[in-house]
Amino acid sequence: MSDVNTSPVVELEDLRVRLGRREILHGITCRLGVSGTGKAIGLLGPNGAGKSTLILTLLGFLRPSAGRARILGLDCAHSMGDARSRIGYMPENDSFIGDMTAVGFVRQMAELSGLPAEAALEKAHQVLFHVGLGEARYRELRTYSLGMKQMAKLAQAIVHGPELVILDEPTNGLDPAARRRMLKLIAEMKNEQGMNVLVCSHLLRDIEQVCDEAVIMKDGAVVHHCNLEEERRSNRSFVELEVTGDDGNLRTALTEIDAEGVPEGLGRWRIVLPPGVQVDAIWSLAGRQNLLVRKLTHRRDTLEEIFLKAMGHLAHTPGESSVEAGQG
């Protein structure tokens, strides 16, 4: 049992998945998270990257054509019966039973996960209040708005108190307030309930806000795996700079303030500032180099840098060596 508790949340060994004649996942190998630690893993990638296929394989819906996938230490192809009672899944698309009330639906799902009838009813009420559907819990699900349906799907995914919750695009179709609420609930799930969460999304901000680890996928392969906690701790900030004038010496000049910069042509630069250095330092530096600043954007969106690099949109990410070093 202790072995299971310290096992990775997800472990993939040369995982290959075919749909028809097409190979969708091309030999993925990685270990994500540690079970029982209450951490969130983000699965990022553009459409068609293979995120949903990976999730469906982890749930045992698709069989690997080669390699192995383990979830909470259990083989996805052979031991899913045991694993599924420890997993909660929130699908991307509408999934519900239309002519049931929310409380009936969530209760049935809880009972299917193995809760006794009375406990299932109690937990269904609790979880519906928790996700903000308390007042609407006796309404039929087909009368719910899109945002309410998302919350009902989240409720059914966590009603049985799973160790791992898999959320496929949880903020899809939500207005800003509902999105904030959803992200807050996800953060509470890991911080207060100790659940491991696997979030699949194409929204970088969502992943950056709630996840501790991120995996970036492209064309059926993992192209980057980073520890966002380390990234946040490094407290680096990024600057997008656009100048007019001779910027040939700017890279050298940046080392004066321990910053790193990458020219992108036509006077555009991406610069990473070390902790404690304010953006004002760039103004002064540009002034000393006789450069006219046309644009200066200060960002802390580190994941976007990593994502763009992984997608091949950036030739080089400033501070790359420190990112890699922070991966553990």
């Binding site: 749930l59 009672s85 698309n93 509408d94 999934s95 519900f96 239309g98 009936g104 009972e111 109690e122």
Partner: protein
């Protein structure tokens, strides 16, 4: 403390066993089915014939009440295999309509609302889901078929005595077995139409049409080719052949009970495969 004040906490209590989990789907489905007035009405109507049959059994076992009747007629109205086969024909008819009414509501809504991934992400396999849905229909149809049949059989045994039971126990066994075969066919047809057609009314029409069309096609084969085996593709006819063999009643002309049983078995396998193809958490388009 009120539930809304308690806040959400992860459940860490004991879990139920495999069978309790399996029965969750039938429990919820039965509750929803019997909330439909038409299903309830048809179920109640289906008890009229068994009640009349019970009256008939009572009469045949009280000779003093039949004194005024013709001797030949008294010999004709006996409780035997023929009597139970007539009982079965009528109840089987009710079962067809009940299955067509209740069956489409079992799988079609789950497919229409994309609920299968939610079920299959829990400790529930495709086969146990299908078996649970089958249990719903079989259980519901049993209430109007072999259960009242068995009650009638017990009534006859009670009134006629042990000697009648020793001479006719095969009728009881045959009736239950015959009904179970028929219910299995009905349930699988209803489930298959429900799995392929999302509109309940159309699914109900298809599951009814299945029997009429195959009956018509069987008749056509017989007439066109001047043969007698065409009917074997008609499940109602094939089941009747099996019932006649089980109850010891003279069967209609055509292929025997063994051939009919094989035809039914093939039909069951085909229907199971049809359902298996559709009940998937994700549809893969090649």
């Amino acid at each position: 403390m009120a539930v809304y004040k308690r806040g959400y906490r992860r459940y860490d209590g004991p879990l139920t066993g495999r069978w309790a989990r399996f029965l969750v789907l039938p429990r919820y489905a039965w509750r929803r089915l019997y909330q439909q007035r038409l299903v309830l009405l048809l179920t109640m109507l289906a008890f009229v014939w068994p009640l009349l049959c019970a009256g008939f059994i009572y009469l045949t076992n009280h000779a003093e009440l039949l004194q005024g009747l013709d001797r030949d007629f008294r010999q004709f109205i006996q409780v035997n295999g023929q009597f139970f086969s007539i009982f079965m024909y009528v109840q089987a008819g009710f079962a067809v309509f009940l299955a067509a009414l209740a069956g489409p509501g079992l799988i079609a809504p789950d497919l229409a609302n994309n609920a299968l991934p939610l079920y299959f992400s829990r400790p529930l396999t495709r086969w146990s889901y299908a078996l649970a849905r089958l249990t719903v229909l079989m259980g519901m149809l049993s209430v109007v078929t072999w259960v009242p049949g068995l009650v009638l059989f017990a009534l006859q045994v009670g009134l006629a005595g042990g000697a009648w039971f020793r001479a006719n126990w095969t009728i009881g066994v045959g009736m239950v077995a015959g009904f179970l075969v028929w219910l299995l066919i009905l349930s699988l047809v209803a489930m298959a139409s429900s799995a392929y057609v999302k509109w309940r009314v159309v699914a109900a029409a298809i599951s009814l049409a299945f029997f009429f069309i195959l009956s018509g096609v069987g008749e056509m084969i017989d007439q066109v080719l001047r043969v007698t085996w065409g009917h074997i593709i008609d499940p109602a006819w094939a089941v009747n052949q099996v019932w006649c063999a089980l109850l010891g009643v003279t069967p209609p002309e055509g292929p025997g009970a063994a051939a009919s049983a094989w035809a039914l078995a093939a039909m069951i396998v085909l229907l199971a495969l049809v359902i298996e193809r559709k009940l998937r958490p994700v549809e893969v388009v090649s």
